[in-house]
């Protein structure tokens, strides 16, 4: 129940996951320099964006001379999943003041979310901070370490190949079913086909095509035989999503 013990519990529970976090930071630091980004921009990126996969995408595209708008846009598309995390964890933070919620939002990562969402406690603030702040510290330190190390890597080592390997490592578990596979295959296929497009638009084109393919695949797999007459796009038949918590006046809604 004490703040301190919650903080420590959070830090302790997240410690094993740092093995997954630190390599990201190191990779960011090392490959950013290779791509021509300055140490300041690299560290700044880890501070401001604080999302490994999108940072690696930024670094890879920057190294290829992609148009800045496409780089920023790709980073945002890669980070769209934070919309989902935010939606999932929001109920746990409903009662806290805006200041807290802002801080919690900035610190949100897959791991902090996963640990906190199953924590049985009314006041998860300190536990969440224990997990999230530990990750943040480890990640920033790893970025700096990567920047420092990167300067010493011999040229010719294909370290930057670790970037697409990381994406591959993330892609495989992200494919959970046939529609997901369709999304990945079409996304990849369109990106390859569109590699000659100006401004590296093949990438966002692939992403959009992949999402559409996933939606189509899900529709044709599940919606074919239940006879509700709904085919194609349009999901308004489902109605509003049910709220998991009791509705009604909070009374404590902060500004």
């Amino acid at each position: 129940m004490s703040r301190r013990s919650d903080l420590i519990a959070g830090a302790r529970d997240v410690a094993p996951m740092l093995l997954g976090v630190i390599p990201f930071g190191l990779l960011v630091g090392v490959t950013a320099l290779e791509a021509g980004l300055s140490p300041a921009v690299t560290v700044g990126m880890s501070l401001f964006v604080f999302a490994g996969a999108s940072q690696l995408a930024i670094i890879e595209l920057a190294g290829q001379g992609t148009a800045p708008l496409v780089i920023a846009g790709t980073a945002l598309v890669v980070n769209l999943r934070y919309l989902m995390y935010s939606a999932s964890i929001a109920p746990r933070f409903r009662e806290y003041a805006a200041r807290w919620r802002g801080l919690f939002a900035y610190l949100l990562t897959d791991q902090a979310y996963a640990l906190t969402v199953v924590r049985e406690s009314d006041d998860v603030r300190w536990y969440y901070l224990g997990t999230a702040a530990t990750i943040w510290l480890a990640y920033q330190a790893a970025t700096v370490a990567g920047v420092v190390l990167g300067a010493g890597v011999p040229p010719g080592w294909p370290l930057s190949f670790a970037v697409p390997l990381t994406f591959l490592a993330l892609l495989v578990p992200a494919i959970e079913d046939r529609p997901g596979l369709a999304a990945a295959v079409v996304g990849g296929g369109v990106a390859v086909a569109g590699r000659g497009l100006p401004y590296h638009l093949g990438l966002p084109a692939g992403a959009v095509a992949g999402v559409v393919a996933g939606l189509v695949s899900a529709r044709t797999a599940g919606g074919g035989g239940d006879g509700d007459g709904h085919h194609g796009a349009g999901t308004d038949a489902e109605g509003p999503a049910p709220s998991p918590e009791a509705p009604g006046d909070d009374g404590r809604e902060a500004e």
């Binding site: 490592a169 996304g187 999402v211």
Partner: protein
């Protein structure tokens, strides 16, 4: 042709602010309403595999601008090995390690 420093900072700022907006979105907007609307969730569900697929495919299938879906493409072989490891272990470190090892090995074999 790399990013000029000012441009790089602008990209960082744009990506940072946008990502923060995503992180804040439900915590701010849906603090009362509960989940994201179902259609939005449907679409979001496919974003990770689509985006990651689009990021991954060119790196392993394209060499010097041309399609290289052949055993002579060392990156493709390394990628296949890494994908197998990712599938069995779901371990990021192992995947990267195996992929790099296979690539370096293929290079040593003269591919």
């Amino acid at each position: 042709m790399t990013l000029a420093p000012t441009t790089a900072w602008l990209v960082v700022l744009a990506a940072g602010l946008g990502t923060l907006a995503f992180r804040l979105s439900s915590i701010v907007a849906f603090a009362r309403a509960g989940d994201l609307p179902a259609p939005v969730r449907e679409v979001l569900r496919f974003v990770p595999p689509a985006v990651l697929g689009a990021l991954v495919a060119p790196a392993f299938l394209v060499a010097d601008g041309g399609l290289a879906v052949a055993p002579t493409n060392p990156r493709l072989i390394a990628g296949a090995a890494a994908a197998a490891v990712a599938w069995r272990t779901e371990n990021v470190l192992a995947t990267i390690a195996v992929g790099m090892a296979v690539l370096l090995g293929a290079g040593a074999l003269g591919l």
